[in-house]
Symmetry: C2
DNA sequence: TCCTAACTTGGACTTCGTCTAAGTCAACAC
DNA sequence: GTGTTGACTTAGACGAAGTCCAAGTTAGGA
């Protein structure tokens, strides 16, 4: 993650303790925290950090392409630091758990020109849904 | 849409004027209204209809599988009455316009078993994003 | 060390949606 | 047609998620 901080400094970011803590909280694979969860974990290290700063920082990271915004339910957005490897999301319909997954092929290729209606289509986000092993055990059988 | 009302009555729905108006507002293809838009259009015909009733009715229609909930941005959910023909959505990154589209193949097939992590995967929602013709003209060239 | 633009803060505010208690009414029985 | 009743509707309070703002603080260059 320190390379992230270096990249950001290279882009003219002022490196404050708040931004450092937010970046550290987001470190790792399969991390999909809400803004409030980021705030809670950041506040554990830097108690006086404000919600507004967390929102600002997350927004900046998204704009810079370092973090992805994921809206899998109608509720709070989640923030995904795994922005440099293309992937999609698998979401449990029972408990809301999220996994990064890697389907094969380019999902964009499935959309023929005739179905693009003149749009310059650049991305395809796929959300797979189903029951995770825990939730399957809990309800079925 | 009157067959919708018949289907609902068959399921034990009480057919109130409010529910009828909401169902009528949602009639049509390529309709992706927010709850507030549904309320506004319903109120044009039935001025005393309340927001709570619109939310209740939309929720029931979703539960019954007659209407789909679409969350393409982090903002208000949209309601899509085209629930009986499988389709995906193409969203303009500029203005937010939404089109129903029909990619070929089953997007589920692209996710190999090894990438399912024991989930019982049942659906795949795809959101294609890009600039619509209007927004392309406005920004580029 | 000083300066200043960039950053952070707390709290008010907005938007979207849910809940509740009281009133209304569709549909069935007669 | 009339009565009955439980399902439905209503207004408004409430809650969660997120944005905005004016005032205070600070990173980093001179």
């Amino acid at each position: 993650m320190s390379d992230l901080l270096e990249r950001l400094r290279g882009r003219g970011w002022r490196l404050t303790s708040q931004r450092r803590v937010v970046a550290e909280v987001l470190d790792g694979e399969h991390v999909h925290l809400t803004a409030d969860e980021v705030h809670a974990r950041a506040a554990a290290r830097l108690p006086e950090i404000s919600r507004a700063t967390v929102y600002n920082t997350l927004g900046e990271l998204v704009t810079l392409g370092e973090v992805l915004e994921v809206a899998t339910d109608g509720r709070a957005k989640r923030y995904d630091p795994n922005a440099h490897r293309a992937h999609q999301h698998l979401v449990c319909s029972g408990c809301g758990a999220i996994r990064d997954v890697h389907p094969h092929g380019d999902p964009l290729a499935a959309l023929p020109a005739a179905e693009r209606f003149g749009f310059a289509v650049t991305t395809a986000e796929v959300t797979y849904r189903g029951l995770c092993p825990d939730c399957r055990g809990r309800s079925g059988s």
